[in-house]
Amino acid sequence: MKRAPLLVLAGTVAGFAGVLGFHTRSAALASPAPGASGQHPARTTPGVKAGPGAVRSAVGVSEQFGYGVLDVKVTVSGNRVTDVSVPSLQVAEPTSQQICDQAIPLLRSEVLAAQSARIDGVSGATYTSEAYYLSLQAALDALHVK
């Protein structure tokens, strides 16, 4: 068959374009709207004194992100986010550990700067950023912060 290479090539282009098209469409649908995931339960730790200026903290739900699991603990004083940390992080393999080790401090500073879960995330650590965002949002929701 002399047309064989041509047919394979046509199929390759079609398959390539098909997956790319599907990907861009589903990516547009799936990108999380900030604050949309308010239903997650979270553990809250009431602060010493109740009231507007009280220091409270909450741990968001554990988020699976394919290469591992993490949860985010947030501490607020009134409506101000004073601290964010990742109390538990489990990953499948060392590379993910390295990526998380680099990304989590960056994510933390993003949150402290934004004073909310509206963060850009860290490129090169997309999955970690998404899980971080979701868990953080759940924790903030539990504390009824914004």
């Binding site: 068959m1 047309r3 064989a4 047919l7 394979v8 090539l9 046509a10 199929g11 390759t12 282009v13 079609a14 398959g15 390539f16 374009a17 098909g18 997956v19 790319l20 990907h23 992100f65 394919g66 290469y67 499948a92 393999e93 060392p94 590379t95 390295q98 990526i99 860290v122 490129s123 090169g124 650590a125 997309t126 999955y127």
Partner: protein
């Protein structure tokens, strides 16, 4: 088209062999090339989708990160290499569709042509991933290789898998293959299945295209499970079933010529095998020392219930051992395979050209050819006594109103060139040309036929490998 119209008429004409009851199996016509084209497009779609999946799993940030480029290259070579490996497995999975479109000869050629790609891509995958991860972790590649093996899930088995693939690949390199016994080569080759099975897990749990993408996980797993199912069905299940059904046993072994033996097997419901003349089976003789190897031998005669006959020249260890087979030995079969049959015919007439033990295929094919074929048969051999089954062939040719030319002597005396071929078969352009014999002979004659103006679709050939 020709073949399809010709088949009912022909079946009715053969008395006493219950040919009309033959079920449509491998003996039926090749599918139209439209299906083959569709299959090629589907294969292409898979390749394109695999490539795109790798690219969409990547972000600009990951590429820019240390080692990002190498890691991406590693992912891409891994995905494409694995996909091509899947294609190679499918090619030899004995799916009737592929067998009919390409024939064993053709699909093995594709399998061989494709082989260097998945192997080198998978090696590149291992090297690039190690390099990329090492750069990201700021360590040396050797240290990183150790980390990969020790602390990544399913990486140890994947590495063993790659080693097995490299082993099977290197043993198939022509220079090495020639020095290795066929039985060893064959069994090492089977390790590829094991290698692919144990490497599967690391793709799913670590591959960026799969982690966190349940849809691609499902599609990929389904493709591999489906392939495994096809392999098990057509390479294991069906042959076992057929062997049990036909219960073949060796009935007689006799010497046909120098180093050539005929084995006659006796079985049940042999007429139910959909065999066309010129097709072959993989034969497994269940005796000590032979049960673990299956070899392809052509039937030298259409099934004559309750008998199947094969005629083999003793070149390898296995074919030499056939002479010592005892009557009553159980025989397992896999097949029939091959498109060296009347179903490939494009013209009403045919020329059959064979060398050496290739005459056995021609003998069976001749019996199966419609009477109006008026075949011209050209047989070439070094010595007169090497032309086995000579009287049978002469008889069949005579009954079909054809001509038989026997050329004996060494290559210079009895060579076939464009002049002699044109003289022996003046109307070769209007005939189907069937060529059977050793690889070199087949290549030579096919080139000659092309040169004499025979279109590719009218040239049918089957090369004998040792």
């Amino acid at each position: 088209m020709n073949a399809r119209q010709a088949s009912p008429a022909r079946s009715a004409r053969v008395p006493g062999r219950q040919a009309a009851r033959r079920p449509a199996g491998s003996g039926s016509p090749a599918p139209r090339s439209g299906y083959a084209g569709a299959a090629l497009v589907v294969a292409g779609v898979g390749l394109g989708a695999t490539t795109a999946l790798t690219i969409t799993a990547e972000t600009a940030g990951q590429l820019a990160a240390p080692g990002g480029l190498a890691t991406f290259g590693g992912n891409l070579t891994g995905m494409v290499g694995t996909y091509l490996a899947l294609m190679m497995v499918l090619l030899v999975s004995r799916i009737p569709f592929i067998e009919r479109v390409l024939g064993q000869d053709g699909l093995l050629r594709w399998h061989r042509r494709l082989a260097p790609w998945p192997i080198s891509l998978l090696i590149a995958h291992a090297v690039l991933i190690t390099a990329g991860y090492a750069q990201a972790a700021r360590t040396g590649p050797w240290h990183e290789a150790g980390t990969l093996l020790r602390s990544y899930p399913d990486m140890l088995t994947a590495t063993v898998g790659l080693a097995l693939i490299c082993l099977a690949g290197s043993i198939s390199v022509r220079a090495i293959r020639r020095r290795v016994r066929r039985e060893i080569w064959w069994n090492v080759h089977l390790f590829i299945y094991l290698a692919l099975a144990i490497s599967f897990a690391h793709v799913i749990v670590l591959g960026p295209s799969f982690v966190g993408h349940p849809l691609t996980q499902v599609v990929w797993s389904a493709a591999w499970a489906g392939t495994a199912g096809l392999v098990l069905t057509y390479r294991v299940g069906l042959p076992v079933l057929r062997s049990f059904r036909h219960r073949l046993r060796v009935a007689e072994v006799r010497t046909e010529g120098p180093g050539v033996v005929t084995v006659l097997c006796h079985g049940r419901q042999v007429d139910r095998l959909a065999v066309s003349g010129g097709q072959f089976f993989f034969w497994r003789f269940l005796t000590r020392g032979m049960w673990w190897q299956a070899h392809p031998y052509t039937l030298s005669e259409l099934p004559r219930p309750p008998y199947l006959r094969l005629t083999v020249k003793g070149v390898g260890d296995h074919s030499s051992a056939l002479a010592r087979l005892k009557p009553g030995t159980r025989v397992a079969i896999e097949g029939p395979y091959g498109v060296f049959t009347r179903h490939s015919q494009r013209h009403p007439r045919a020329a059959l050209i064979a060398a050496g033990i290739g005459v056995t295929s021609v003998r069976a094919l001749l019996e199966d050819l419609p009477r109006g074929t008026r075949p011209v048969v050209v047989l070439r051999a070094a010595r007169r006594e090497d032309l086995v089954l000579g009287t049978e062939i002469a008889d069949l040719v005579k009954r079909r109103g054809g001509q038989l030319h026997e050329l004996t002597g060494d290559r210079t005396e009895a060579s076939i060139d464009q002049h002699s071929l044109r003289r022996l078969v003046p109307d070769i352009k209007d005939r189907d040309v069937y060529v059977c014999g050793p690889e070199g002979f087949v290549t030579e004659i096919v080139a000659l036929a092309r040169w004499l103006g025979v279109p590719d679709e009218a040239i049918h050939h089957e090369a004998y490998a040792l």
